[in-house]
């Protein structure tokens, strides 16, 4: 931030603080309970009324290619070593009866999100079209939502220092386009659309095939549905250390990388 800006910001925040102090003594109701963007009915905050966006992951079509993982990083400029989506690749069974299992994961845009009600600033919320978003101008970086998500689908964006996660590529969806990972999905496993629309592909898939969600018992009512999910894959969490982590640490990559990050701001 430029000096100029920070000074202005200081003044602004200072005023806010005084205003708050004054208001606090008079009338607590003077604040809306919501963040400005929602109050102002900003379309980015409200979303597309009447629609309810969901994603279907048809695992029969997933080839574990990580195209989704990779495009998401580009489209959303997800910082180094952070991911909004990733496809876990595992093998189930014992030689020679071994099967491959892929689990593409992203924010589930839960109908009962665990992340939203714990947010003390209201920075994260569910739009009217079902997309759970974070307002990075409001988020104070407490991390409660990250702790609360049963799916590990949030992280602190290293660059903005605010909670971040998949937002169904709202920047595209709001323009009538599709999420980047859906656009690029090689196998066609990722299907996106408005579940309220009976002609949508997602509606058809969910009505023609049995589907499941991850960790149903968490009660979060995920809106990312899986077709062909083997329940064993859900127990991924009880496998141990990822070898990549060990190797990165032992080889000194972490250190090199952090140093490099300090040196060059620029990526891609």
């Amino acid at each position: 931030m430029s000096k100029e800006n920070s000074r202005r910001n200081f003044l602004k925040k200072g005023l806010e603080a005084t205003a708050f102090a004054m208001l606090a003594t008079t009338e607590a109701n003077a604040f809306s309970s919501q963040i400005p963007g929602r109050d102002e009915k900003d379309s980015r905050h409200i979303g597309q009324k009447g629609k309810h966006f969901v994603m279907v992951l048809d695992l029969r079509k997933c080839i574990g290619c990580q195209a989704c993982t990779s495009v998401c990083k580009i489209e959303n400029e997800v910082p180094e070593e952070q991911f909004r989506t990733f496809v876990t690749e595992t093998e189930i069974g014992e030689f020679p009866d071994v099967r491959k299992a892929f689990l593409p994961q992203l924010c589930n845009h839960c109908d009962e999100p665990a992340c939203v009600p714990v947010c003390p600033t209201g920075a994260t919320f569910k739009r009217e079209d079902g997309i759970v978003v974070v307002d990075n101008d409001v988020c104070w970086g407490c991390g409660y939502c990250i702790s609360a998500c049963p799916y590990d689908k949030r992280y602190f964006n290293k660059r903005t220092q605010t909670a971040d996660k998949c937002n169904f590529c709202a920047q595209r969806v709001d323009k009538g386009l599709l999420p980047a990972c859906v656009e690029t999905c090689i196998g066609g496993a990722r299907v996106f659309g408005d579940i309220n629309d009976k002609n949508s592909e997602v509606y058809k898939l969910l009505h023609n095939f049995p589907s499941t969600v991850l960790k149903e018992a968490q009660g979060t009512k995920p809106q990312t549905f899986y077709i062909g999910l083997d329940s064993r894959v859900e127990e991924l969490f009880s496998t141990t250390q990822s070898l990549d982590d060990i190797v990165k640490a032992e080889e000194g990559f972490k250190r090199e990388w952090e140093k490099a990050r300090g040196e060059v701001e620029n990526h891609g």
């Binding site: 806010e16 290619c65 990580q66 990083k73 093998e91 660059r159 220092q161 196998g187 066609g188 190797v247």
Partner: protein, 1008 residues
């Protein structure tokens, strides 16, 4: 309290308060000033995502003026998909890559070619037909444009300082560089180096004893990589003009076993066609050593088609491979099967299958009995074979097919008479005996008869023992395979890159002949071909005055039989056994990259003077490169006196070069590419710079890259075909060849005008496809056809519509020649080392050296208990090491081993292990997984780099540190073997010479 204590509290309190404030300064700084940490995101809700390139809401299309979206080609791997790149106009940088919906390698079904550009966008919106036309880019293609901006990219011409391989360079001017390589001299203070001018002697034989080897100008050799859209131009316009026969691509380290085996099956060693399953419509796919979805060509397309076929259609598929790969998913239940196999033994497995099919007579007999194209047409079939053709067994003419002039003779089943194949509807398939023709009796057998005998050489149990797959399993697969008839398909590729890969491929393909699947929907397809590009309606861009017809023996000893050399003739004349030759020869192989450095080092057939590599990384890519080639290449005296590399990066090979010439990267490049296989309609994908190339330029403004360098070099050497009057139009007019666009825009015009010319591009098309900046050049070069050429450029190429794929149950674009159940060329060729004839049809061999000595004997199990192989990464691919982002998705690679094996060797998940072959070793972290055959060790290929930013680089005295993330992983090819039966050579397929990277006997130990 005492005041001393008060003072103490006060003093220490103040001191600690100050220290704490300092410790908390980061936090306090923000709190006190209410200032934000980190960078401000571009948008409060959308974070840092870039704005959409257009919007389509309420049927209103609004392009975003901040960006342009251009169609071009991804060359993140050899698939070469057509993509669209979104470019930030302000920074001229690519911000996102999207699939090109016109291009079949990214899309299926792809949109009709005459769709307007605007509609090509709206179709891909929520309101369009997204689910139908979804167009995609893989993990690599999406991120790898970051390599364009890599720190290690070479932007200016470099000349080495210090010894070869030290990776120390200084920048030099391009004109100086060209001057030095043309004129030679004492360039490095290491003695005189011959320049290209001196080498270009097109008269004096390079080897006076062997005039057939051609003139001295063959001392100039160009080594490339894949066909990236510029290779043909270089061969035809630089090399042929110069007078050398020596161009090699990378096929011999890529998939030559497959290519040669299929060329044998298809009877075309000239064009090396190859087949791919019609993935989407096949009912049963038997894929041997090339799991679709894991890698393969076309990577995305076959992954996508397989995913669709197993979800929406009726496919069953079996993957035969030491490791399963990403073809499988538990989500599709019983449709997918895996047969684990020990590397290098699949020939036994396939011979077993053939034996079962042949002995049980479950093959398509009436199909195999079709002896000619005429019979085929009569039977309303779409392919035919030479199964019924008669092979002479007499000593004289042994192995030749019995013919009347050119027409083969067969026995008619009707009357058992010998007739012209054209006149027979059904020929005798299985025959061995005597026939009489024109008064001469011949001992003959049918191709099929020889095949039958060969497949029965070993018993099923013996085959099973060789490959470790049970007889029951083979029975099951054979039965399933034939049961789907013409909708059964086969595939093989990288898994055949071992010493018996040629016959393995031939055998795999032979399975197809048993059901007659060629040219059938759901069967095997030769690909849909392409529109005429270089030699087209408007121009023959390969024709020019003074182009030399080079008659020479290639440095790699391919396309040439030993029996034609004086060496052979002299020995015969002297009454000596002409065998063994000094080394192997490969008469029906196209090119052998993996042989040139070694051949030049031993001076057989001759020594090279200058090697020019184009984006080639023979060192890293060749099994045994590090172990055997490195030594030869690091000393200019040993093999290559002058080594020039064109490459945007300094890789494991160009590191040893004397000069490095920068090249353009990815979306900065001109070219025309096609699809390799696995598609049914015509396709030409274009490459043209859509962002400004970053490297230095020539004086005429062209950036330094392969073609512009060729122009400059050609002009300097005064070669024909460059400069004024170098390109002739079919209208008789002459044009100059000064800039790269002079050539490529004309090639694009050829494409546009081929057959029924394409329509004119509208202004809107041009604007929405970001090619406005090309309009002046288009007008200048293509004249009245400029809008047609623009039409093709706007769509990133020309593509036949999908409805042209099939004609009923047949493919539209078919392979016309007969399938070779017996290949005469092969059957009449001898092993130059032993004088043994190669088998003209499939036959079982064990892994072996060129002279026939088996690995089994050379590398006994007690010393080398496991067999190593490598498999391509589904994420990485070798040219993308300079992509930092890609490494975030696949950080490193491991030594993969079955847990059972690990227990046997006392190893644990995560241990550092050393694997060693007889000739090399490599270390890596051990990763245990059940999806790998217990007798093997597998390595994901593509990491463990020692180039492209992995090691320290010094330019003009400034050092750029090598990166751990590029070094990490296993450099598998260090295990590569030396062929002890040859002089200075790597193990290779004993027939076609492909570099043997699979099936390497190894041992493993823990590194403490």
């Amino acid at each position: 309290m005492q005041s001393s204590r008060r003072k103490f509290l006060l003093g220490s309190g103040v001191a600690v308060a100050a220290a704490s404030a300092v410790g908390y300064k980061d936090m306090l700084g923000s709190v006190v000033t209410f200032s934000d940490k980190g960078e401000k995101a571009k948008d409060s809700i959308y974070f840092n995502s870039s704005e959409a390139e257009y919007s389509y809401l309420n049927e209103k299309f609004v392009p975003n003026d901040a960006f342009k979206v251009c169609a071009t080609t991804c060359i993140g791997c050899t698939t070469q998909c057509g993509v669209r790149v979104k470019i930030d106009k302000k920074t001229d940088k690519v911000v996102r890559v999207l699939g090109n919906p016109y291009n079949l390698l990214s899309t299926d079904p792809w949109i009709p070619y005459n769709t307007s550009i605007k509609e090509s966008y709206t179709l891909l919106s929520q309101a369009g037909e997204f689910e139908t036309y979804r167009s995609n880019v893989c993990a690599r293609g999406n991120v790898l444009f970051d390599k364009t901006y890599d720190q290690n990219r070479v932007l200016k011409p470099l000349k080495r300082v210090g010894k070869r391989g030290e990776n120390r360079w200084k920048e030099i001017d391009i004109d100086t560089l060209i001057d030095e390589i043309v004129n030679g001299g004492d360039l490095f203070g290491e003695g005189k180096v011959k320049g290209l001018k001196e080498v270009r002697d097109t008269k004096t034989p390079i080897n006076p004893e062997e005039p057939i080897f051609g003139p001295k100008s063959n001392g100039f050799c160009i080594l490339g990589t894949t066909h990236d859209g510029r290779v043909k131009t270089i061969v035809h316009r630089l090399l042929k003009s110069y007078g050398s026969a020596n161009y090699m691509g990378h096929t011999s380290i890529c998939g030559l076993s497959m290519r040669a085996g299929e060329a044998a099956y298809l009877g075309n060693f000239k064009k090396y066609p190859h087949l791919k399953p019609d993935f989407e419509n096949t009912e049963y796919l038997l894929s041997i050593g090339t799991p679709p979805g894991q890698a393969g060509n076309p990577f995305k397309r076959q992954g996508k088609l397989l995913a669709r076929a197993r979800t929406e259609k009726n496919i069953q598929y079996t993957i035969v491979s030491p490791t399963q790969g990403n073809s499988d998913t538990i989500a599709v239940g019983g449709r997918s099967h895996w047969i684990p196999i020990i590397p290098g033994t699949d020939l036994a497995f396939v011979m077993g299958l053939l034996q079962i099919i042949i002995n049980s007579k479950t093959y398509n007999a009436s199909y195999l009995a079709l002896p000619s194209a005429k019979a085929m047409q009569a039977a309303k079939d779409v392919s035919w074979t030479n199964a019924s053709h008669l092979i002479i067994q007499d000593e004289e003419g042994f192995g030749r097919i019995l013919r009347d002039k050119k027409t083969p003779l067969v026995l008619d089943t009707q009357d058992m008479q010998l007739k012209h194949a054209d006149d027979v509807i059904e020929a005798v398939l299985d025959y061995q005996g005597m026939v009489e023709f024109e008064g001469k009796t011949y001992k003959v057998r049918t191709s099929f008869n020889e095949l039958k005998e060969n497949v029965n050489e070993l018993s099923l149990e013996e085959y099973a023992k060789e490959c470790g797959v049970s007889v029951d399993k083979m029975q099951e697969v054979a039965k399933e395979f034939v049961s789907h008839g013409r909708k059964s398909s086969v595939d093989c590729h990288g898994g055949t890159m071992h010493t018996t890969g040629f016959y393995t491929t031939y055998a795999v393909m032979m399975l197809g002949a048993m059901v007659g699947n060629l040219n059938y929907k759901g069967g095997m397809s030769p690909g849909g071909g392409a529109y005429k590009d270089y030699k087209g309606k408007q121009y023959n861009l390969f024709g020019y005055k003074g182009k030399s017809k080079v008659h020479a023996t290639r440095i790699d000893k391919t396309r040439m039989a030993y029996e034609k050399t004086n060496e052979y003739k002299k020995k015969v004349a002297a009454g000596k056994n002409p065998y063994p030759a000094k080394d192997t020869w490969y008469p029906f192989t196209n090119a052998l990259e993996s042989e040139i450095i070694t051949n030049s080092a031993k001076g057989y057939p001759y020594k090279l003077d200058v090697l020019l590599t184009l984006n080639s990384n023979f060192m890293y890519g060749t099994s045994g490169g590090e172990g055997h080639i490195k030594e030869l290449i690091s000393d200019p005296k040993k093999s290559i006196p002058l080594f020039i590399a064109i490459d945007p990066f300094i890789n494991e090979s160009s590191r040893y070069a004397d000069y490095i010439i920068p090249d353009s990267v990815l979306h900065e490049t001109w070219g025309i590419v096609h699809a390799w296989a696995g598609y049914q309609t015509k396709i030409n994908t274009l490459r043209f710079p859509v962002v400004k190339p970053r490297q230095a330029q020539f004086k005429n403004g062209d950036p330094i890259e392969v073609i512009s360098f060729a122009i400059a070099l050609g002009k300097k050497l005064k070669l024909p075909g460059f400069g004024e009057k170098a390109i002739k139009g079919n209208d008789g007019k002459w044009h100059a060849f000064d800039k790269v666009e002079d050539f490529y825009l004309r090639a694009f015009e050829n494409i546009a005008m081929d057959g029924k010319p394409v329509p004119d591009a509208s202004d809107e098309d041009i604007r929405l496809s970001g090619i406005e900046s090309y309009v002046p050049s288009l007008k200048k070069i293509c004249g009245k056809n400029w809008r047609k050429t623009a039409y093709v450029m706007a769509r990133g190429g020309r593509y036949e519509d999908i409805d042209k794929s099939y004609q009923g149950e047949y493919l539209s674009h078919r392979y016309k020649k007969p399938i070779q159940i017996y290949n005469e060329t092969v059957g009449r060729t001898k092993n130059a080392l032993t004088g043994e004839r190669f088998s003209g049809t499939v036959k079982f061999y064990k892994q072996r050296f060129a002279n026939g000595e088996t690995f089994e004997k050379a590398f006994p199990k007690e010393h080398f208990p496991l067999t190593a192989f490598s498999f391509k990464s589904n994420v990485l691919s070798t040219p993308n090491t300079a992509s930092t982002l890609l490494k975030e998705i696949r950080y490193t690679t491991y030594v993969d081993m079955n847990p059972k094996t690990a227990v046997k060797f006392g190893l644990k998940h995560g241990d550092i292990v050393r694997i060693s072959s007889a000739d090399g070793s490599v270390e890596g972290y051990l990763r245990l997984r059940h999806g790998i055959h217990p007798e093997t060790i597998g390595v994901e290929h593509g990491a463990g780099r020692e180039g492209e930013g992995a090691i320290d680089l010094e330019i003009n005295g400034k050092v750029t540190k090598g990166k751990i993330s590029r070094r990490t992983g296993v450099y598998y090819n260090k295990l590569g073997l030396h062929d002890s039966s040859r002089n200075t050579a790597l193990t290779a397929d004993f027939v076609c010479g492909s570099n043997a990277r699979q099936a390497i006997p190894v041992k493993v130990e823990k590194v403490t």
